[in-house]
């Protein structure tokens, strides 16, 4: 029996996706279904003076129009936040109400004010045009850097200012002292721009209340069915949780944006009970742009102190982090526990102090987006490293080697305790950089660069060495940091009487390939073919509980929960096998799909044990029938993947156009179950990070209008913008989970953005260019060149 773990098995789910047989929320049609269109604010900030739906209600086929007042009259709550970060002075996090539909004021373009429900979508859209909303436009604050100004318009009238909370980490005194002795200090100031997540499947939600059994079903495009059920039933609609089912089966990408509980989910669920019919809402793409939680939005100033040999002495900085108009589900965690705690990077920095001000602006909410905080942390660290290297005239690779944390395996050596709370599990950083340098042939690069410059061609090289935190995390730890949920995972492994296996996982696949990776693990564990394993996810009625998929946690946490159930099945199976073989349990070994009595040819296959468990005629006394175990796995720690990425770019001096000519990545994601899926995750992630560096950006004008609200303006990276990726790996297993896996979903995005910007700055450094704002569009690069030439 050949094994499948570690092999590049093609994704089993792709057949149905590629042949159009996926079942996304918008594909679902229920009997008697109605369609909702949400009327959204065209203003960033305005008072709602009146809403007149009378003309809309006269249209044939319109079932109902509801406003925020109707929801308020039913006593429904606002959309809650799942993470609490209190202020430095001890004050509770300021958590203004996030209404399902606004009643008094709108606070960003796209904020919902009313919903029109009709027999079909066309009628609903026609009627929506007739709803008269009378707004009194008010001044808005759209930029994070302006939010705390004394005269800034307030997003929430009941708050003293636009601060949601402030937060700090590290040791200020020690860090200031380190800076006081520094030989060199490198400082950078930049804006880590807002990004629109752009999942290919727009969000969609169907609320279905069945009066007969007083039961609610919400079909929704989510990464996180159980959390949605918990938040919506317990906090928003006050429904008994056992009377609510949330289904998020096939989901077409999320990148974080579908972790969160959104107003539309509560809206269709609530309204379905009102009209006693199912209601479907699907975002139009232009709605996705202004309602899917955005990513990043950090205004940052940061410094790194060095001694004369280039050893890092300290890091200190400050970020104003945009929350948008409301606190989305995980928003408070992103600039704090997912960002501030990563500022050690993979360096021995002995002193760190960092402060974050999280602010409200009249903009779409900001929350976790692929990498969530770690890309922002890595961006500032790696931009600092390349900049410092240039300023101190030390080779950027050399500067990193000088500062890497020495190897530790987390088994014979302890984990590495950082200055910023985390303890890294295992790491061996230098080999990834050595390997990447060799692949890209760094030793010859500077010569080539010099020759190219002589011919008027600007080529540059950029580095990023990074560590990130995945598999979020031990529940007790995240709880102490403000999470209002645990972060474990569950799994049922159910061996059917014929020896086929159904796995019910709380992880959620929305592009990651769980149906393949998880099946590989199960197949090898039982010595059965992959075809004999079915992976089920995304339905609160089938899965015991789940914390969903994000933070690259599925394999490390969800996979480990499956391993726990597998172990329990093997343990029970051995008892049954021992009985059937009339042997001692201790004398059995399980291999190649059968239990064998050591040193004999007496064996019994997995399938026969399964059948016996369900047809227990000849069965161990006192043992329960059945072969079916449920487990919860709460990890001991985060996992800490790492790697080294190097890119080469060519800058067209005359136009400022940037071409990425080579991209080399060496990643260590721990043990690899499916190298093809890991590579695919890395490819997608790298492309997304290059997107931020070169193309993507959601900017608001002063009145709070989104300037890039369609694909005619918002530039996604495309295949023809990218080079062939040269990807390879090293393997340093995670010491604390049964799979040794660390996570691969976000590493590419985390690493690639600074790699590219560093490379562009390197290409132009001889002209005196030292910093560039993202995205590095041709116009920006060209004007940086002009400015440098003018100096």
């Amino acid at each position: 029996m050949s094994t499948v773990v570690g092999k590049p098995i093609r994704r089993v789910e792709d057949k149905r996706f590629i042949t159009g047989q996926g079942r996304y929320t918008d594909d679902i049609k229920l009997h008697g279904m109605t369609y909702a269109v949400i009327i959204r604010s065209p203003y960033a900030h305005a008072r709602i003076k009146s809403i007149d739906a009378s003309a809309a209600l006269k249209i044939k086929g319109v079932v109902a129009v509801f406003t925020g007042k109707d929801i308020e009259a039913d006593g429904m709550g606002g959309i809650p936040t799942g993470w609490q970060v209190n202020l430095i002075n001890g004050e509770t996090m300021r958590e203004p109400k996030h209404p399902i539909l606004c009643t008094d004021k709108v606070r960003h373009v796209g904020d919902g004010v009313a919903v029109v429900i009709a027999e079909d979508l066309a009628i609903a859209e026609d009627a929506a045009e007739l709803v008269q909303v009378n707004y009194e436009p008010l001044p808005a604050v759209a930029q994070v850097r302006d939010a705390l100004a004394a005269n800034a318009p307030k997003v929430h009238d009941e708050l003293p200012d636009n601060l949601a909370f402030d937060w700090n980490i590290g040791d200020k005194e020690k860090t200031d002292a380190a800076f006081a002795t520094a030989h060199h200090v490198t400082t950078l100031e930049f804006y880590n721009q807002r990004l629109v997540p752009n999942a290919i499947e727009p969000r969609s939600a169907i609320g279905h209340y069945e009066e007969g059994r007083d039961f609610y079903t919400l079909y929704t495009s989510t990464q996180n069915p159980h959390l949605i059920r918990l938040l919506m039933s317990a906090f928003v609609l006050q429904l008994p949780e056992h009377k609510v089912r949330v289904v998020g089966s096939d989901v077409g990408g999320g990148f974080g944006s579908k972790i969160f509980h959104y107003a539309e989910e509560a809206l269709v669920t609530w309204a379905s009970k009102k009209i006693k019919r199912p209601i479907k809402w699907t975002a139009a793409r232009s709605e996705s742009f202004v309602t899917d939680a955005h990513g990043r939005d950090h205004q940052t100033t940061v410094s790194m102190a060095f001694d004369k040999d280039g050893k890092i002495l300290g890091l200190r900085g400050h970020t104003i982090a945009g929350m948008g108009a409301y606190l989305s589900t995980f928003a408070p965690a992103v600039p704090t526990y997912l960002h501030g705690t990563l500022l050690q990077g993979l360096y021995t920095t002995p002193a760190i102090y960092y402060k974050v001000d999280a602010v409200f602006t009249h903009t779409t909410a900001v929350d976790a987006y692929r990498g969530a905080g770690r890309p922002e942390a890595t961006y500032l660290l790696e931009r600092l490293m390349d900049t410092a290297a240039r300023e101190m005239k030390i080779d950027p690779a050399e500067l990193r080697f000088k500062n890497f944390i020495p190897p530790f395996d987390g088994v014979t050596q302890p984990g590495y305790q950082t200055q910023v709370a985390l303890q890294y599990d295992s790491g061996n950083y230098a080999p990834t950089l050595h390997k990447a340098l060799e692949i890209i042939d760094y030793k010859n690069f500077r010569k080539r660069q010099e020759e190219a410059r002589k011919n008027g061609k600007f080529i540059g090289i950029g580095f990023s060495t990074f560590v990130e935190a995945c598999g979020i995390a031990p529940s007790a730890v995240v709880g102490s940091l403000g999470a209002r949920a645990g972060l474990y995972e569950s799994a049922i492994v159910r061996v059917q009487p014929t020896g086929k296996v159904s796995v019910y996982t709380g992880s959620h696949s929305h592009g990651q390939g769980h149906e393949t990776t998880f099946a590989q693990i199960v197949a090898d564990s039982f010595g059965i073919p992959m075809e004999d394993v079915e992976i089920v996810h995304g339905d609160t009625e089938q899965i015991p509980f789940g914390m969903g998929t994000y933070g690259s946690r599925s394999l490390a946490v969800g996979g480990s929960a499956i391993m726990k159930s597998i172990d329990k099945i093997k343990e029970k199976g051995a008892k049954i096998a021992a009985h059937l073989l009339e042997a001692n349990e201790a004398d059995l070994v399980f291999a190649e799909g059968k239990w064998t009595v050591k040193g004999t040819d007496k064996s019994i296959p997995f399938q026969q044990v399964a059948l016996t468990a369900y047809v227990p005629h000849n069965y161990p006394a006192g043992l329960e029938p059945g072969l079916d175990f449920s487990s919860f796995y709460d990890p001991l720690n985060f996992t800490f993947p790492f790697g080294a990425h190097i890119a080469e770019v060519e800058v067209e001096a005359e136009t400022g156009e940037v071409k990425v000519t080579r991209y080399v990545s060496v990643d260590d994601v721990g043990t690899i179950i499916n190298p093809m899926i890991v590579e695919g995750q890395l490819h997608g992630g790298i492309a997304q990070g290059i997107g931020q560096a070169l193309y993507e950006g959601a900017f608001y004008d002063e009145s709070g209008q989104l300037l890039q609200g369609t694909y005619m303006d918002y530039t996604m990276p495309r295949a023809d913008n990218l080079p062939m990726f040269e990807h390879s790996t090293t393997v340093t297993p995670c010491p604390h989970n049964p799979l040794g896996a660390k996570g691969a979903g976000e590493a590419g995005t985390i690493a690639s953005t600074p790699t590219i910007v560093n490379a562009i700055v390197d290409a132009l450094s001889h002209l005196g260019v030292s910093n560039l704002e993202m995205p590095c569009t041709p116009a920006r690069v060209w004007s940086a060149i002009q400015t440098a030439k003018g100096n």
Binding site: A122, D126, S286, Y695, D713, T715, M716, A779
Partner: protein, 288 residues
């Protein structure tokens, strides 16, 4: 998002379409490739009561050569123009331009007639029509009239097209020996529309530039011919130095509109770059 409701009419001949246009009047809109119209309908920026679809009129798709002109039917798709041997042999830069529009699905449905009738200030064809000295044929119930490209593009989204008229053909003079042309486009990376596009046509006689025509798209409310560049090169030796000097005059007398992706200064600079590239390529083609 769905468009507001409308009645759909499929015309099967030009006469049929003109009849519908006559009876339905300004309540009706022509549907060609739909790549500008359908998004406007879906966003409800446009709410016509009737759509008259020209896609079932084969005569409007033809591409032929007549009396030294390449005659392209209004409904010729960008792909059809890109891959036409007739176009490629007589006005190769038009075939190249068609291949640079949007992406494959835009090219497979979008039409030359739709582009010029729509007159988007970022569209590619208008600059090329100006540089090529093309003629647009407009047809109404009372017959056809020929309008020079110079007179066709009036303003942003506004052309010489009158009520009750269709764009039916575009005539490009075939490039004579000694004449070369080129279209050089700097694309927006998202839409791939032109940030700046420059079309140039030059005749080189005895090493001297003649009949220079240079037109830009993307810089202002409509595509325009740049007399400054044209006259700077007219009668001058066809070499890099004269071309570079002429190109630097690009858009000098024009008010350039910038946006968050490319501000005015950048667009002006790119105009000089694209002008140089287009002129160099045109001269190279003329002297080949």
């Amino acid at each position: 998002m769905l468009p507001a409701s409308f009645d759909y009419h499929r015309a099967t001949s030009v006469a049929d379409a003109l009849g519908m246009l006559g009876s339905l009047g300004d309540e009706a809109k022509i549907l060609a490739g739909g790549h500008s119209l359908i998004p406007a309908l879906k966003l409800r920026l446009s709410k016509p009561a009737h759509l008259i679809d020209l896609n079932a009129i084969p005569e409007l798709r033809s591409i032929t050569r007549q009396n030294g002109h390449i005659v392209v039917g209004a409904m010729a798709t960008h792909t059809a123009v890109q891959t036409s041997d007739i176009v490629r042999s007589a006005v190769p830069f038009i075939a190249d331009l068609a291949g640079s529009i949007g992406d494959a699905s835009v090219r497979n449905r979008g039409t030359i007639g739709g582009v010029i009738a729509h007159a988007d200030p970022r569209a590619d064809y208008p600059a090329a029509l100006l540089a090529a000295d093309a003629t647009v044929v407009l047809t109404s119930k009372s017959g056809s009239r020929n309008v020079k490209a110079d007179d066709f593009f009036v303003d942003m989204f506004t052309t010489a097209l009158a009520e009750g008229e269709l764009v039916t053909e575009i005539h490009f003079p075939a490039l004579a020996k000694g004449t070369g042309a080129s279209y050089q486009k700097f694309s927006h990376p998202a839409s791939r529309y032109a940030i700046v596009g420059c079309a140039a046509r030059v005749t080189v006689e005895g090493g001297v530039c003649k009949n220079v025509r240079v037109a830009f798209t993307g810089l202002t409310e409509k595509a325009f011919r740049d007399n400054g560049v044209e006259s700077a090169l007219e009668g001058k030796p066809a070499n890099e130095a004269t071309i570079q000097a002429a190109a630097l005059l690009a858009a000098k007398s024009i008010e350039v509109t910038g946006d968050s992706f490319a501000d005015e200064a950048y667009r002006r600079h790119i105009a000089t770059v694209q002008a140089r590239k287009a002129l160099l390529a045109a001269v190279a083609a003329a002297t080949k």
